[in-house]
């Protein structure tokens, strides 16, 4: 059930739909894709965020039953648009209008929108699309973005998906719209690993769990019999590295998402924790305590001899690779309190970068490379960002205990977990780089330790 990106023009021309006389030929791709993107980033209060976007139901050429949970192709046409609308709306990025308030276009209008009917109603952008059942059980979804006032197509895409992953086509369409309008890289078609929490504060049950970036397709992976902490998806999503107290002692395991089996990362008599992948998935960075002294190590994801990267009497812990894999940002209390340090990937040239009072912990290098997110401890715990040189520190959240940032694949949004004073109940939250668009993520039970994976291919 691999999702395939199809060359849309060819796909449309080859389809029976395109052969119908009422459908104009697909526009040359050059017309749409070479337009300048609207400038702006999530860090700015850019004008594009206020764009009115209409997303009516995607029509189908023929209402055909599918194996997808959303039903027939006609049902999918509405369900897909709901997912796209929620993606764009829930992240505080746009103010889209979903399918329920809008007329459903005809198949012919997908390629040639009825622009006059959309103009003058606060609709700046129009998203059209179609659903078609393929003979082999797969589903083709097309997605088109139009500028209403210019009466012009801006971008288009189409994907073939298996029925069980129809939501991915919606995320791909939302990513297409978001990327074209913001100039940023996509991020909706991605997954999150985290720890699901239940039970009393002094006997929390903690289970490894996964879900899509919008909370759908939720699944518990471990039973909760062993305490599970700090998961991280491998860059290819095939494995999850995490900490488990299986057999009583804290050790890092690699869970294989395809076989459901897991193995120890290193055979060690000592506790191992705080695991992270290198960007190429070849290395696992982790911390190990020997006789009370914790240092940072790395080991090949395939196993073998570990290499010690830090060597000091203080606590050196955590760590996160720069996107090019050449450097590691980590945390150490060698100066007397938790602070953030950067070193080369081989452990040389260790330098402290956080100098702003308070403590700085759990650093995470942005996938864009331009920022380091961390837990800023100054009385309460907050999520903050700084440059990899330690400059331009900005605090983004203001909870009692906001901890453990993880970046969206495009480096524009940060997820973290927020612990409630007293009850100790934890939940997942996300915030954009302005600090203004903050929201709680829906999870079936309490949640902590989020880890946002890359955009799916």
């Amino acid at each position: 059930m691999i999702l395939k990106i199809m060359p849309l023009a060819a796909l449309m021309l080859a389809s029976p739909l395109a052969a119908q006389p009422t459908v104009p030929p697909a526009q040359p791709a050059s017309q749409s894709t070479e337009e300048e993107g609207l400038t702006g980033t999530v860090s700015d209060e850019a004008a594009w965020q206020d764009l009115g976007i209409a997303i009516p139901t995607f029509p189908t050429n023929a209402d055909v039953a599918t194996q997808a949970s959303a039903g027939s192709t006609a049902g999918l046409g509405k369900a897909l648009v709901r997912v796209i609308t929620d993606d764009l709306k829930n992240n505080g990025l746009f103010k889209p209008t979903g399918p329920d308030a809008l007329p459903t276009p005809s198949m012919a209008q997908i390629n040639a929108p009825d622009f006059p009917s959309w103009q003058g109603k606060g609709t700046d952008m129009l998203v059209h699309g179609f659903v078609r059942a393929n003979g082999d059980g797969n589903i083709t979804v097309g997605c088109y973005l139009y500028d209403v006032s210019l009466s012009q197509q801006l971008v288009k895409g189409a994907w073939v998906v298996g029925p069980s992953e129809w939501r991915r086509a919606a995320h791909k369409c939302a990513d297409l719209v978001y990327s074209r309008l913001s100039g940023e890289s996509p991020f909706f078609d991605s997954k999150i690993a985290y720890i699901a929490e239940t039970g009393a504060k002094d006997h929390r049950v903690k289970r490894l769990a996964i879900m899509d970036s919008d909370g759908a397709n939720h699944r518990f992976i471990t039973t909760g019999q062993a305490l599970a902490l700090t998961p991280r998806y491998s860059p290819d999503y095939k494995q999850i590295v995490y900490l488990s107290y299986l057999n009583g002692n804290p050790r890092i395991y690699i869970y294989d998402t395809e076989t459901g089996k897991q193995r120890l990362v290193t055979q060690s008599r000592n506790p191992t924790f705080s695991p992270r992948w290198s960007p190429d998935g070849r290395w696992i960075l982790y911390s190990m305590a020997i006789g009370g002294n914790t240092d940072v190590y790395r080991v090949s994801a395939a196993g073998g001899q570990a290499q010690r990267l830090t060597d000091g009497p203080g606590i050196d812990v955590g760590g996160s690779y720069s996107p090019d894999g050449s450097k590691i940002v980590f945390e150490s209390d060698r100066s007397g309190s938790q602070q953030v340090y950067v070193m080369n990937a081989d452990g040389t040239d260790q330098k402290r970068i956080s100098f702003f009072g308070g403590r700085a912990a759990t650093p995470e290098w942005s996938p864009r490379g331009d920022q380091v997110a961390f837990t800023y401890i100054a009385g309460d715990f907050h999520i903050a960002v700084m440059s990899p040189a330690g400059a331009s520190m900005r605090q983004l959240t203001n909870g009692w205990q906001d901890e453990a940032p993880t970046w969206s694949p495009n480096g524009r949004i940060i997820q973290f977990f927020r612990t409630e004073k007293g009850s100790g109940r934890a939940s997942l939250w996300q915030v954009d780089l302005t600090g203004k668009n903050e929201r709680k993520l829906p999870t079936p039970v309490d949640a902590s330790d989020p880890s946002w994976g890359p955009v799916l291919p």
């Binding site: 965020q49 103010k95 506790p271 938790q338 907050h382 205990q401």
Partner: protein
């Protein structure tokens, strides 16, 4: 769409005072009543014996009267004088029963980040272990495990609860 309720300035002022170290560990917890343990053990034994069987974990807990646990200041792992007295009592028991092994569990309060607390808990457990070894307990009989902030004994979010949670607990292995 943009929530404008907060400003950056507000965010920063709210974070002004850092209570980096507010050391307030209870110098001594009130001794365990012991009666619960005694009763439980008696039930198990079903004999006329008045206390737990010598050399058991129940006996260890009863004998130590709360000194099976030592407490730490915020972000610290050093052994202070009351810790030393407790560890001396633990060592006495462990030397009396040389066939017994013990596990030392290191814990932290909730006001630390997760991974750091795992490391700090390990440091605390090892500080207790090293002290016991210095008192003559064979290191091979002692294991350590850190639970970080995962297993608080006091569930409040206040100084009193945090002081009780910054601890190392010695548990004899029956």
């Amino acid at each position: 769409m943009l929530q404008t309720s907060r400003t950056i300035i507000l965010l920063f002022t709210a974070s002004a005072a850092l209570a980096a170290c507010t050391p307030k560990a209870p110098k001594q917890l009130p001794p365990d009543p012991g009666s619960n343990v005694t009763t439980a053990t008696n039930t198990n034994q079903g004999t006329v014996q008045s206390g737990p069987a010598p050399g058991t974990q129940a006996d260890f807990v009863t004998t130590l009267m709360g000194q099976d646990t030592i407490y730490f200041d915020t972000d610290r792992h050093n052994i202070d004088s009351s810790d030393a007295a407790a560890l001396a009592a633990q060592a006495q028991w462990l030397i009396k029963y040389p066939g017994k092994r013990a596990s030392i569990e290191g814990h932290c309060d909730e006001r630390g980040t997760r991974d750091y607390n795992l490391a700090l808990g390990d440091k605390r457990a090892n500080a207790a272990k090293n002290y016991l070894v210095s008192m003559g307990v064979d290191a091979g009989r002692l294991t350590v495990i850190s639970y970080g902030k995962e297993r608080p004994i006091a569930v409040g979010s206040n100084e009193d609860a945090w002081a009780k949670n910054r601890r190392a607990v010695t548990v004899s292995v029956d």
